[in-house]
């Protein structure tokens, strides 16, 4: 399965679906046959409300969970067949990827570089480089549980980059951060893009997507409703602000869903009467 996709598309997704079984609700289709492709060196935004399927999609891409249907490739590696190679190619950052509290910042970076197979001989140099780049030197030997949230966030980004992956996934990274830390994070992501990293960025905050993303995919109900640059979306909808663009697509999608449900109900009624 590997290398079946063009190498200039570092991330490619085809018909990806995820069905969960919930005791109360039965089968829940969290992601429903999505397709997407990221270009090298861009920030690709996944914009959607809570529960739209952003996190599930990104967790499938990072092989934390496996798809129910469909396939995705990261740097040409299949998420289903080569999960370890996929994980080696990307760094995953989210509000739920915490740091080990009883390790120091330096130990943390050292561990993640090694376990993600950064060349052993260069690990020390890499760790020093990250410590300097993210301003960690002052607290590099302090245990993570003694650090402030801003310090932890810097260590966390450095951890994501420890093995210098070409692709970075940021899943709602600014959730829970104060304004200054959120701005610093956004600035870091932009710099990483400028260095040539491919970035998948999920958010429900319109302003973040507007400022940061080269292309934006609007996801709703587990489906991608549209995907384009901000200008392309403006042109397609005639709306200026991303908020309005988002509402435009979601309304259309919900209307379509309502129509489909009504049609299905009518059909079922007709079938029952026919019997």
């Amino acid at each position: 399965m590997s290398h079946s996709e063009p190498n200039d598309l570092p991330v490619r997704v085809e018909g990806l679906s995820k069905v969960f079984y919930d005791e109360g609700r039965g089968e829940v289709r969290a992601v429903d046959g999505i397709d997407l492709a990221c270009r090298r060196g861009e920030i690709f935004g996944l914009l959607g409300a809570n529960g739209a399927g952003k996190t599930t999609t990104l967790r499938m891409l990072s092989t934390i969970i496996s798809p129910t249907e469909g396939e995705a490739w990261v740097e040409g590696h299949s998420v289903s067949d080569e999960p370890e190679a996929v994980r080696r190619s990307l760094g995953f950052y989210s509000a739920t990827t915490a740091l080990y509290p009883r390790m120091t910042a330096r130990e943390t970076l050292d561990f993640f570089a090694r376990i993600n197979r950064y060349p052993v001989d260069s690990v020390h140099a890499r760790v020093d480089q990250l410590i300097e780049r993210f301003g960690i030197a002052a607290f590099k030997d302090a245990r993570v549980d003694k650090l402030s949230s801003g310090m932890k966030q810097r260590v966390s980004i450095a951890r994501t980059l420890a093995h210098d992956p070409p692709i970075l996934i940021f899943d709602e990274p600014t959730v829970g951060l104060d304004v200054l830390n959120a701005l610093a994070l956004v600035d870091n992501i932009r710099r990483l893009r400028d260095e040539g990293k491919t970035i998948l960025f999920s958010t429900h905050i319109m302003s973040e997507a507007e400022k940061l993303c080269d292309r934006i995919a609007i996801i709703h109900g587990g489906r991608i409703l549209t995907c384009d640059t901000l200008d392309g979306l403006r042109e397609a909808t005639g709306e200026h602000y991303l908020e309005q663009i988002f509402v435009h697509y979601v309304k259309d999608a919900e209307a379509a869903v309502r129509e489909a449900l009504e049609a299905r109900d009518e059909q079922e009624l007709a079938d029952m009467e026919g019997k």
């Binding site: 969960f20 005791e23 990072s62 092989t63 934390i64 969970i65 496996s66 370890e84 190679a85 994980r87 080696r88 990307l90 760094g91 995953f92 989210s94 739920t96 990827t97 915490a98 740091l99 080990y100 509290p101 009883r102 390790m103 130990e107 561990f111 993640f112 090694r114 376990i115 993600n116 197979r117 245990r143 951890r159 093995h163």
Partner: protein, 428 residues
């Protein structure tokens, strides 16, 4: 060795050291897996000695207040002996009537009343003979101590008096001492000590190893989920097998550490702890764990740690936080203690049947080794059975963790519920 194997081993090592390093910075884990097994016996020793010294000191402090009534003139020496006791342990009080003296015992003003009465007719032939009625209050520590002290003095006094009377009548002691009893226990003090250690040590070892595995097993599973580091770990390049393998080895390491430290502490301090408790015995019990048994006991402890770690990992795999982890592992912990309790009888020995029962078999190997008995064929069976059970448990752990909702911590239930759900789905 292929390169992928080398990579897996390197990952395993990296993950394992991380687990261990973090664990050794966690106070609860260090206390339960290192300090408790190491210090339990010296601390016990100190506590026992302190308690014994305290009790003895309390007893020594008492002056026993004794009242004699109607003591024959020929036996006033008994009163004199007590009154002139070198350690001044007795105080002699005077009462005119028995009723007054007994009332004083009841009220706690006197500890013991020694009331001399006429001897039974068959003993009355001896001049100056008498019967002695002792009145004391067993519910009072001081009165009970007085009773014990007085009885000891009385035995000495009677022996001296009988010897004197016999001698005055030209009878040698050996003539009226009709038969003598000689006791010979063929078991040496060392054998007896080994027998008693064999009943205690296996149970203590199982408890210590289980305690050593308990917190690490929760820390490695539920702890990761509670701290939100589980998802971070799931994004590393290492295989899932390496992640689970490293966690298992970490839990087993701390269980084995607890077991081996406990063994070492027992070897060093058990003799010293138990010896004073048997100070009244004359057969010179030796409670030393024999040095030649230590290698076999160490290997057995290691096997036991590997088994208990696998079991605890299986139960803890479903826990999403420390509370769940504790409640899920506790039944297994209690289950681990049951087999050594079952075989904790001198009648139970290592047989082929017991060799097939996990944990109980290792407990019996401990006992055999302490007793200096090495049935190597059965010990071999025990090792094979233990290893097979460990592999089977690890296979189940791997199977359970291959289910995504268990792996990600989204499964809301324990092992029992999981198995029920699994078989129900299979039937459907």
């Amino acid at each position: 060795m292929s390169s992928s194997w080398q990579t897996s081993l390197r990952d395993l090592r990296t993950l394992y050291w991380r687990e261990l390093r973090s664990a050794l910075r966690e106070r609860t884990i260090v206390i339960n897996s290192v300090l408790l097994p190491l210090l339990l016996y010296p601390v016990l020793l100190w506590l026992i000695f302190t308690a014994m010294s305290f009790v003895r000191g309390q007893e020594e402090r008492f002056v026993s207040r004794i009242a004699f009534l109607d003591l024959p003139a020929a036996h006033q020496e008994l009163r004199e002996r007590l009154a002139n006791d070198e350690d001044e342990r007795f105080e002699i009080l005077e009462f005119s009537t028995l009723e007054e003296a007994v009332a004083a015992v009841r009220s706690g003003d006197v500890d013991l009343v020694a009331h001399a009465t006429k001897p039974p007719p068959e003993a009355a032939a001896l001049d100056g003979n008498f019967a002695l009625e002792l009145v004391y209050d067993e519910s009072k520590d001081r009165s009970e101590t007085a009773h014990r002290r007085f009885e000891r003095e009385l035995v000495d006094y009677r022996r001296d008096w009988v010897d004197r009377e016999a001698s005055a009548r030209g009878i040698d002691g050996a003539q009226w001492d009709l038969f003598a009893i000689e006791r010979e226990n063929v078991a040496s003090g060392k054998d007896m000590g080994a027998f008693m250690l064999g009943l205690m040590v296996p149970l203590l070892m199982v408890i210590m190893i289980a305690v050593g595995c308990f917190y690490p097993a929760i820390d490695a599973t539920a702890g990761e989920r509670e701290r939100s580091t589980w998802e971070t770990l799931m994004t590393v390049s290492a295989s899932r097998s390496a992640v689970v393998g490293a966690k298992y080895l970490y839990v087993a390491t701390l269980g084995a550490t607890a077991g081996l430290l406990n063994l070492g502490a027992m070897a060093v301090s058990m003799g010293t702890i138990l010896q004073p408790l048997m100070s009244g015995r004359e057969d010179g019990l030796s409670f030393q764990v024999p040095m030649e048994a230590l290698p076999l006991m160490a290997i057995s402890a290691l096997l036991l740690a590997l088994f208990i770690a696998a079991g605890m990992m299986l139960f803890a795999a479903f826990a999403r936080n420390f509370k769940e982890g504790q409640s899920m592992i506790s039944p297994f912990y209690l289950l681990c203690i049951l087999p050594p309790l079952l075989v904790n009888s001198p009648d139970v020995e290592l047989t082929l049947g017991w060799a097939l029962v996990p944990i109980a078999n290792v407990a019996l190997v401990f006992r055999s080794a302490i007793g200096g008995v090495y049935p190597w064929d059965l010990i071999g069976v025990v090792f094979v059975v233990e290893l097979a059970t460990i592999l089977a448990l690890l296979w189940v752990v791997r199977w359970v963790l291959s289910f995504e909702d268990v792996q990600t911590g989204n499964y809301g239930g324990d092992l029992t519920k999981f198995l029920k759900d699994f078989f129900r789905k299979k039937e459907a």
